[in-house]
């Protein structure tokens, strides 16, 4: 397997009136071609910022402090805006949460799906491009006849399918899905998740799947990265992390979701609230809310270390939890 994406020591700040928000601080991970990585965490943990920095889609007040984003061996950080534009949609495409906002209300969906194709492949014959749009629609489960419909004629689930067709239009290598099923009903959510899973396998896509919902990630990813307050706190295969979570935050997060195949008991929470990232806490960023916090946690920052096969976590007390 070859490494498709290699993020090294990424740090991103947001300039705000009250000061710089350290949204992402020293995040590194790799993604192999054809694999699905889930990034989980609560709102404000930096998962969306990390992912959107890859196709350079961050808001204008974001500043890249340091780091490298190697895609197919090339550092995207060195690219000009124009060069990045050539990669967006062509190599890296996105599926967002609110499909209605991402679609143009006055254009048919067919016209919107064809746009990236024509833009990235100017040599393509009109007929071939149209043919590809119809194939894409069939592929995401929309009858080809509906290419001439407008976004408002579709339900939320169908619009999300349109978004997926658009993301696939130029046969990218990597798809970034940011909370793709969050606003959808359970049944529609299951439909979309299965569709994404099938397409990913058929087309051997690499995917970054961002969600606050651990259950959704558990169902659709190969690996998971847990973020807290701008830091990567744990990473590993889905099976490992869910069966033997090493970081206290991961453990607490898993206990925050009810599991109908487990014990019927009220979910557990985490006391307190996520920290203010203008002045992040010293030491481990989770120490204020952690039930296993000792003196050293407030003083020095734990580094990520191997805790099992292909599983890493950043906690001072990990040695003690291992058998």
């Amino acid at each position: 397997m070859s490494t498709l994406l290699d993020i090294q020591d990424l740090a991103i700040n947001f300039k705000t009136r009250s000061g710089d928000v350290h949204a992402v601080d020293g995040v590194s991970f790799q993604l192999e071609a054809g694999k699905v990585l889930g990034i989980a965490g609560e709102s404000g943990c930096g998962k969306t910022t990390t992912a959107l920095s890859i196709p350079r889609l961050l808001p204008s007040n974001a500043r890249l402090v340091r780091g490298h984003i190697l895609f197919d061996g090339v550092d995207l950080m060195q690219f000009s805006e124009g060069e990045i534009e050539k990669i967006r949609w062509k190599q890296i495409s996105m599926v967002f949460q609110g499909a209605m906002n991402a679609l143009n209300p006055v254009k048919t969906i067919g016209a919107q799906i064809i746009e990236p194709i024509v833009w990235h492949e100017p040599a393509i014959a009109r007929g071939d491009a149209n043919q590809r749009v119809l194939e894409l629609l069939e592929r995401v489960g929309i009858p080809a006849a509906r290419a001439r419909s407008y976004p408002h004629e579709f339900s939320g689930g169908m619009r999300q399918r349109v978004m997926i067709a658009m993301a696939l239009a130029c046969r990218p290598k990597l798809i970034i899905s940011d909370e793709p099923v969050t606003a959808l009903d359970v049944m529609i959510q299951a439909q979309i998740l299965n569709l994404l899973k099938d397409l990913q396998k058929q087309m051997n896509l690499a995917m970054i799947f961002i969600s606050h919902d651990l259950s959704v990630i558990a169902e659709s990813c190969d690996e998971i990265a847990i973020m807290y307050a701008g830091k990567l706190v744990e990473r590993g295969s889905i099976r490992k992390v869910f069966s033997q979570p090493a970081h206290p935050y991961t453990q607490a997060l898993i206990r925050s979701f009810p599991n109908i195949y487990g014990k019927q008991e009220l979910i557990h929470g985490i006391p307190g609230y996520p920290p203010n990232l203008i002045h992040p806490p010293t030491g481990c960023r989770f120490h204020e809310r952690c039930d296993r916090c000792i003196d050293i946690c407030a003083q020095s920052e734990p580094v990520l270390r191997e805790v099992g096969e292909g599983q890493i976590a950043a906690c001072h007390r990990i040695g003690e939890t291992l058998p």
Binding site: R17, S18, S43, G44, T48, Q97, E179, T182, H212
Partner: protein
Amino acid sequence: MNATAVPASRPPNLWVQVWEIPLGRAGIILLGIVLVLSLVGPVVFPFNPKDITSTAADILQPPSSMHWLGTDELGRDVFRETLVGARLSLLVGLLATAISITLGSIIGLLAGYYRGAVGITLMRVTDFFLVLPLLPLIIILAAIFGQSFSITIMVIGLTSWPSTARIVRSQVISLRERQFIERIRSLGATDLRVIAVHILPNVLPLIYANTVLVIAGSILSEATLAFLGLGDPVRVSWGTMLHFGFVAGAAGRGAWWYLLPPGLGIVLVVLGFTLAGHTLDQLLNPRLREF
């Protein structure tokens, strides 16, 4: 999910915000000058309307060191007359606006809050007034009720409220669907309380902005009425000055100094209120704020 944090501090005072926008600042400066001149001016330069001469040498004289802006057709000082006229123009504008805004706000609040028969009826009445050709109506009303200062105010006030009612109503309609209003209703609050304590404060900024615009309109209406000869003939306003100047043939005799000061006064005051009002509207009207 990833909503950014709301800023913790409240925005600065509204007038400070208006001041920071160049057009708004120009409006405030204009209004400030006119207000000071109209309040202080007549005290420093008193004007006696009965100070009439019949000597031809004093009538419609061009500006001189004696009369800075010349004299009118009765030999009175135009400069002093303009300062006094400002008072009446502003007063009519403010009082008519008070009637108009009160009426418009109440009707707008009720029409927006009660969606049934009450709301529909009020809106039909509003639409009726909105499409009435205003000037002929005002002329007829003024002709019926006579020419006096208070009638002018009533007529302007009673015909200019529909736009306020419409703006307030549309805002109330969107507010009453908001969850916090529904929560208050589910607590068992009376309609009066919901409207007065929760809806009114939320539409008040919009009413402020509208008030400033309505004042500009009212001053213009007063000037129009007075110019047409429907104003109060015994009081001096900018409108009556224009009327008497026109009747006396000031335009034909080249007596520009008689028509220019009141005309320019109206233009500047209306401009001042309009600039300030539009800036307020931009800051406060939720429909204009973003997109």
